[in-house]
Every structure is written in C-alpha cells, then in structure tokens.
Symmetry: C2
Subunit: 183 residues, 2 copies
Amino acid sequence: MKKFEEKTIRSNPIFQGKIINVQVDEVVLPDGNTSKREIVRHPGAVAIIAVTKDGKIVMVEQYRKALERSLVEIPAGKLEPGEDPAVTAERELEEETGYRTKHMEYITSFYTSPGFADEIIHLYYAEQLEKVENPLDGDDDEFVELYEITLEEALQFICDKRIHDAKTVFAVQFMQLLGQKQS
Amino acid sequence: MKKFEEKTIRSNPIFQGKIINVQVDEVVLPDGNTSKREIVRHPGAVAIIAVTKDGKIVMVEQYRKALERSLVEIPAGKLEPGEDPAVTAERELEEETGYRTKHMEYITSFYTSPGFADEIIHLYYAEQLEKVENPLDGDDDEFVELYEITLEEALQFICDKRIHDAKTVFAVQFMQLLGQKQS
C-alpha cells in the first residue's frame, strides 16, 4: 500500500470538457473514515524557456479568461494524447514564437496544483533559436503578442505582476541561477 | 479594453464543490468569433518555505488523490474567505509543522494553472522557527508526515520525483539562489 493511500469507494463523473474533466471521488482515509476528493483531469503540458542568440528570453502575452486579464508567460501548450512531450515542445515553440532549434533540452517536470488537479508541466530549455520563414499556425482561438526580454526586464515584469504564473516565475529564477553559475 | 479581452456572453455554472467551482464561459474573441472557456474557481492558497535553526527545509508528505500517490511538498494551505494570506501562512505553518515564528516574510505570488484555473499561491519565507508545545490541530482528513531536509537532500528528492510540484520545485530553486547570494 502506498503511504497514506486513499482507496476509492466510488468515482462520480461531473463534467467532460474540451480541456478538462471533473470528477468527485469518495475515498477511505488511512484512519478508516471516508471523505470526498474533487479532482480535475488535464492532459498535461509543456513549457519552453527559449533564449535568443542575443540572450533574451522569449515571452508570450495572452488573455487568461480564468483571471480576466492577460499574463506574460513562457511559451507553452497542451500535450496531444500519447504525444512525446519533446515533440509538443518543438511544435509549440514554432507555433507560438516562430522559432525552431536543434538545441532543446529537458529540464524538469512538475505538477501545478496537486491538491485538486493532475496537470503536469514538462519544462524545456531551448537556445540557438532560428526564425522559421513560414511557421506552423497556432490554435484559432489563441491571440498572443510576443516579447523578447532581458533577465532584468523579466524580474521587473514579476514586480509589476505582468509575469505572475508558476512556470514563468520558475523560468525566470532558473535563468537567474544559470547566470550565477556562469559568472 | 484589456489586451485581447474575451467578453463573456454567458457563464454556465457546472459544479459547486467544497474546494472548487467549475463553470464554462461562452466568450467573444478579439476577432469577433466565439469560443468556450472551461474555468475552475479556487479560493487561493499560501505556501511557506520554512527553514529550521540548523538550516533545514521543513517538508510535508501527503497523499494527493488527483495523482494517486504521495508527494513531498512545502507546507501549504487554502485561504479562508477574506483572510489575510499572512494570517493563513502562520496558521498553516503551525497546523502542519508545529512551528511558529516571528520571522515570516512575503516572497511572491503566482497563479498555478492560468489556462484553466484562478488558483493563486502566496509564498512566504520563515526562519528562526520555534516548536509549539500544543500546536493547532490540522484538518481531520489530512494525514501528513514531516521531514526536515538539507538543500542537497531536496535536490535529490527532485531527481527522485518525490518532490514534484511547482511551488516546492520553486522553493528549492529559491533556496539554491539564496545560498549562492550568501556565499
């Protein structure tokens, strides 16, 4: 048995959406009592820390309906079923930024909201970016603006809360750490 | 008008849970077309990077039903309605770890999953921890195991995927950066 495992008595499907599914599981707790767990299923995603040849970080601004505001974020996108995250990362980089590279490496993965969702983000680092002449099209319902910003500008964007999501704050910190290692 | 704003035509409530609410909004995109946005509402949370007097990071292992496994995470907890996050941070530190401190400072905040959820985590740094004799009780349905680990152990936990969520990976990176600034 896994540590503190919560065995499912019954799983109640609530909602099947285009992006998320929602269910409520009735579980037995380690002390024998029962409880309910509200769970959001998500296909997972990739995100890319993409650095231009002049050392700037590529960012994408887009409207986030859940927050009723736009955010500046590193390029990211959802996994297609069964797709290798490295393939998704290459596709999303091209679709969202018009860049390709032969120098993409995997950094780490993390769950974003383990308390209620199974979304995982696989994070990649890309450099030596090359502009594509006719890049792949993105999703029809995505409107984005591109930025290429320095690390100092990115830190200012965090202060201004224009950068304000976990993967992008992590990415900026990653670049800070990389800079310190190299200096 | 906000950049790339998506005006709501209709908001359809799907689910009202104990922790999350789910809705589907029909929106008008910037090009005049319409689309649907699946949105999870969450009360928000705090998380605490808590460092003991001998320089170890306090971690909590608990079962995460959405992932069907346990994770090692920094202490965290949901906001009560209208509650000042600094108050939540003090309470959750005591409930989950049995520690109190007069030395807690705010670091930053971030949205965890802006693509579909409005959950925000407010992150605090706590040091000079003091053990409380009779700490506040935690939630009835939470079963946790405490660890106090070094930064090197935390990095190993990331390699082993025992630490595998955004806020905790961010916290470990924060401690790395702090260590480099101090050295």
